[in-house]
């Protein structure tokens, strides 16, 4: 299953080219795998070739990856800049 369709229902103001979450250079696969399971938006993905990808654009700003993998996968985590990011209409 892919979360893209669901995230497409959300409202976002994406801060293009200015990621609020930065990853370390080559995160250990086991640590990366934790975030594949724990990110509620499904933004941490492992491709068929085994390589991990991450896209901050659909981020729900929950902080799960910060708590689960600061230092191992996540190099820095902050809230998006002024007026940017997800905007819930229900919550």
């Amino acid at each position: 299953m892919n979360t893209d369709t669901y995230l497409g229902k959300n409202k976002y103001e994406v801060d293009e080219g200015n990621p609020h979450i930065r990853l370390v250079d080559s995160p250990p696969p086991a640590e990366f795998g934790k975030l594949v399971r724990a990110c509620p938006a499904g933004l941490y993905k492992v491709g068929a070739d085994g390589a991990g990808t991450f896209d901050y654009a659909g981020c729900l700003e929950c902080g799960t990856c910060r708590i689960a993998a600061s230092g191992t996968v996540v190099a820095s985590w902050r809230y998006p800049g002024p007026t940017m990011g997800v905007e819930y209409r229900y919550g």
């Binding site: 959300n10 724990a38 509620p40 499904g42 700003e61 929950c62 002024p82 229900y90 919550g91």
Partner: protein, 428 residues
């Protein structure tokens, strides 16, 4: 001279109430909320127990955007093929002191903030506080974008994913077993369809919690709350358990929605939002220091939240904590001492209130859940097997209940069952 008497960081549940109390006491107060509007970043299940809101805003029911009054409770043991439910309803659920309502935060939070503004609080939206300003170890203000704004006291009501509590009072970031990941969807359906499915009138609704399958046997559960013309459905999974699960959390929600016992409830509905948020569930023993020099913590920024399995409560705690924080800060301002010592009355007020009393009473529940995997892995299916013996008939002669049921319980182990039951009751 500081710019404001008080600055409140965050306008979820605790923040606006703290600001309201300060404004009512005649103090100048600025609220800084990173959402473009209040609630824009917030998620709850959610059911609001109204007792603490009633204390601060007795007339809330007349104007608050509440969804449905909850008059029907269901708790289910959800197994792969079966579902065993206890249902409870009681006329007392309509008595003001016990009332609870489903709420949607993007609607509810702006209303709460408006109450604080009406009382005189000032608001800045759309910008996050990036850091605290400190002088000689004392918090004296906040940095938000280009602006450095000072205050005699700062109240951190920035929620469970606080980036400021560490600097404020030395609170460590929560450990993975002290938080759960919540993933939720809002499903739109006509109000009358929801009422029919929940067996309620259009103003009233149901709260439904599940253990077992929603988390694929991991620590946590699933929830369903009926709103006016939407249904909130989600899964909450303890992070330390989730990171080792074979199934991603969003897939758990997908499977939960497709379970035959759940699917008819949302059939024909359209998913209109997909959200995610952390829940603090470390309990009393995970509370950080609640005050420092020039600073107070209220709500989930201080891990105030109760996950007692059958119910998640954070909003009523945050509202009460906000009230006490606002009142204590106002008293300290009047007395001219907003040092940690001058603010110490806040901790005492919380210890005397249900907030820390309830957290203390349920202190052992987080560990109980974490160390009783059977609760999530095997008991739901066991309940289903017992029910099979009661209700499935195919014309083969039935066996006496005792002979049919006891082996099922025996399989789980009498002593383990009795032990778990006893420890569960003790932890509650």
């Amino acid at each position: 001279m500081a710019d404001f008497d008080a600055i409140v960081v965050g306008s979820g549940c605790a923040g606006p109430i703290a600001a309201l109390e300060l404004a009512r006491a005649g103090k100048s107060v600025l609220v800084i909320e990173r959402g473009n509007y209040c609630g824009a970043k917030n998620v709850s299940g959610g059911r609001l127990y109204t007792h603490s809101l009633r204390r601060v805003l007795p007339g809330f029911a007349g104007s608050a955007p509440l969804e449905r009054r909850i008059v029907r409770e269901r708790i289910s043991l959800l197994a792969e093929t079966s579902n065993t439910t206890i249902e409870f309803t009681d006329a007392a659920m309509r008595q003001p002191e016990f009332e609870s309502y489903s709420v949607l935060r993007a609607r509810f939070d702006p209303w709460l903030a408006a109450q604080a503004e009406e009382a005189g609080a000032e608001y800045i939206n759309g910008i996050a506080v990036e850091s605290l300003i400190k002088q000689d170890g004392r918090v004296t203000g906040v940095q938000a974008g280009e602006d450095a704004i000072t205050a005699e006291v700062v109240i951190l009501a920035d929620g469970v994913n606080t980036l400021l509590a560490g600097d404020a009072v030395g609170a460590p970031a929560p450990l993975p077993d002290q938080v759960a990941v919540g993933v939720k969807q809002v499903v739109a359906l006509p109000a009358s369809v929801i009422s029919d499915r929940a067996l309620t009138s259009d103003d009233e609704g149901a709260a439904w919690l599940f253990v077992g399958e929603p988390t694929h046997g991991g620590v946590g559960g699933g929830f369903v709350y009926t709103n006016r013309d939407t249904i909130s459905i989600g899964v909450v999974a303890t992070l330390s358990d989730l990171v080792g699960s074979p199934t991603p959390v969003y897939q758990m929600l997908e499977d939960f929605k497709e379970h035959p016992a759940v699917a008819p409830l949302i059939a024909g509905g359209e998913v209109v939002e997909h959200s995610g948020h952390l829940v603090a569930e470390g309990g009393y023993d995970s509370l950080p220091p609640l005050v420092g020099d020039g600073v107070l913590l209220a709500g989930e920024s201080a891990m105030m939240c109760i996950n007692a399995g059958y119910t998640v409560r954070g909003m009523d705690l945050a509202i009460a904590a906000g009230m006490h924080a606002g009142r204590s800060a106002a008293a300290a301002l009047t007395a001219g001492d907003t040092s940690a010592q001058g603010l110490a009355g806040y901790r005492r007020a919380l210890e005397d209130s249900f907030v820390l009393k309830d957290m203390r009473t349920l202190r052992r529940f987080p560990a109980f859940m974490e160390h009783t995997p059977r609760l999530f892995q095997s008991y739901p299916a066991m309940a289903g097997r017992v029910m099979q013996k009661l209700f499935l008939l195919d014309g083969n002669p039935v066996r006496p209940l005792r002979k049919a049921v006891l082996p099922i319980l025996k399989q789980a182990g009498y002593t383990k069952l009795a032990g778990d039951a006893l420890r569960g009751i003790k932890a509650l």
